[in-house]
Chain length 394, copies 2
């Protein structure tokens, strides 16, 4: 009855549902406070107070036609201009409203730009480990996902393998820094090397290859680390942003794309992305949330909570003998499984009421992701369980 | 640089932009009050006051995790239950929350259900004239659009031709009543005949053929006309709804799909639609608007304004000798062009500062669409121009 292309998703869904049901069973058996769910990237901190104030003020100040009506498919022009100016101020860029397209979250933005760029058979590169949903987004347009294997020491992209994976059919490279699932921030050196490889390959093949920079975690960084703004290093860069994490608004689906003037084919990209936003059924980003985020552009949720969680979890897990990548951003800890099979390891962890996500879901078996966007108290209560888990393998 | 599949859209966009620029030029030359833009289906009436109150109350009453956080991809369960109960009360159906999937407007909903149902090469039928965007939605999934020519007397679907167009590859039929662009409401007799044809063809081919009922105009009806609830006549019906018109919220992108229990493959449809909502990049319908519409389910914008406009425009145009379909719903008047070529007629109308949409855009040349979701005063001021336009052809 359903499309053949959807059958595998329905099968996959039942696995997820089974996991979810199992979590509920564990909670019923042991008490919710004794089950430690580290599986979801769902922000645990509330939006800053300014979001509520913005929404309330907007409701009272804005005439209904502007507040809830249609606008240009790319979004409210003053909102786009405000986003551009905020980027310029923070990153030394030179954007204006024409470079900004408001989107239904980053997921919407990525689909819009992939529809804009990719024909069936075009190749899209991503660096493992990466957010598994990219596979689905690329498949929506009949694109072919090409995976660069991880450098399992640094989890910075493997530049040499990257160069080898680029072909005449390569249309785009998705990068995600700060990274889900590793928490790694790509260094300026990494970005420069990626840009160099791409400039060379563009010349070699006489093609355009775009970086699609997926940046929902841009503001979630620790220890004063800087996240390079990619458009400054490579001109064919499209940025996809979301307020889901920075303002803790994941249910509202609000984000934007940046398409810089200097991108090859700028005018056509702009026009095609505007049309893609419409014909994919997004039409435009939700109006009231566009107006709200425009008033909170330099605000964030309380990131110090995530930093506390990060340090607590990293230090304890290392002390128990786990091999972890020290995260500089996002809200995930990337941990080497204590046996080769990460799925078997995740099942073992479940015996201790620890719910983790296998690295296989991120095209990187042998590891697990621990999401620390959770209550700090839950993290503290979980330590004894992680210690027992470690001891199983000693 | 852009995808080959997007080139035609970029070319089409420049035509739309040229029209828009021309409108602005006319306004600059003759004064905005002397240009009569009947081209856009953008609601001119404000949302009911209850929408503002709902949003304000929700902001004050709801904890941030529920207000702005992730929820099930299908939407808040209590919102879905409220939608289901409202439908049951109004239409005598028997839905519950599991039958409702909250979507990013009807455009989002249609894309979700097409992704759920259609593989490349599958055939989707629509009755001309129809909203041209359906072509794009079907193309998103590699589907083949099959057009049933209009019955140009009644603009009810031509049942005989419909039967002939169904093949073993027919996956779905999109219907839209009240109709954009004609304003026609399909009669109960029409719906029964469509259902009969489909049941017979399902048996003949051993296939499932779904009705996708696109219903953004369900509440916009006049003269007490009833719009049959399609799931009661044909069990393989999926309803796509939007609050864009009934609550004048087009910029907020909020609507829902109804997937009835009795639809063939119900469980798989439900699961696949939930996944499709996620992987197409919608993820979920905007949270705050889900909560808001749940509090305004039996409210509408002031539809009497559209009724006034409808009567004024229909009566005058008929008195000038135009041949019009008397609309029973939506906010469009469907008028026979006074020459064979509707595009040439639209250009002639432009000489009188009347901006109309050619029927060709709705797969039905020889007609034009006049959107009367505009200020009543503008309609009155436009009469002298319509009269001059008619006289051109006498």
């Amino acid at each position: 009855m359903i499309a053949k292309s959807m059958v595998k998703y329905v099968e996959g869904s039942s696995v997820t549902r089974a996991m979810f049901e199992e979590g509920k069973k564990l909670a019923a058996k042991y008490g919710a406070e004794n089950v430690f769910d580290f599986s979801l990237g769902n922000p645990s901190t509330p939006p800053p107070e300014s979001v509520k104030k913005a929404l309330s003020d907007i409701l009272n100040e804005t005439e209904p036609g502007r507040l809830h009506g249609y606008m240009n498919n790319s979004g409210h022009e003053d909102v786009r201009e405000a986003v551009a100016q905020s980027l310029n101020k923070r990153f030394g860029t030179a954007f204006s409203q024409k470079n900004i397209l408001m989107t239904v979250g980053a997921a919407g933005g990525l689909n819009v730009i992939l529809k804009t760029l990719a024909d069936p058979g075009d190749e899209i590169i991503a660096f493992a480990p990466y957010f598994g949903e990219y596979n689905n987004y690329v498949a929506n347009f009949g694109g072919k996902m090409v995976v660069v294997a991880p450098d399992i020491l640094s989890f910075q992209p493997d530049i040499e393998e990257f160069g080898k994976k680029i072909t005449a059919k390569t249309k785009a490279v998705i990068i995600n820094t700060p990274n889900n699932p590793t928490g790694v921030v790509y260094s300026e050196d990494t970005i420069k090397k990626i840009a160099e490889v791409l400039y060379n390959k563009q010349e070699e093949y006489g093609t355009q290859i775009y970086i699609i920079s997926d940046e929902p975690y841009r503001e979630l960084v620790y220890d004063g680390v800087k996240v390079p703004y990619i458009t400054k290093y490579y001109k064919n860069t499209i940025v996809g942003y979301s307020y889901s994490k920075s303002l803790s608004l994941p249910g509202e689906r609000i984000g934007y794309l940046v398409i810089p003037d200097e991108a090859d084919g700028f005018e056509n990209l702009l026009c095609a992305a505007n049309v893609a936003n419409r014909i994919l059924g997004f039409v435009n980003a939700p109006s009231i949330m566009q107006l709200a985020v425009a008033r909170c552009l330099e605000e964030t949720t309380d990131i110090s909570v995530y930093d506390t969680n990060r340090k607590l979890l990293y230090n304890k897990l290392v002390s128990y003998g786990f091999e972890c990548v020290k995260p500089e951003g996002a809200f995930y800890l990337w941990v080497k499984a204590l046996e080769d099979d990460d799925i078997s390891f995740v099942n073992k962890a479940k015996e201790f009421n620890l719910l983790l996500v296998p690295g296989s879901s991120f095209m990187c078996p042998g590891y697990v992701r621990i999401a620390y966007c959770v209550d700090t108290d839950m993290i503290k209560r979980s330590f004894v369980q992680f210690e027992k888990l470690a001891k199983c393998y000693n």
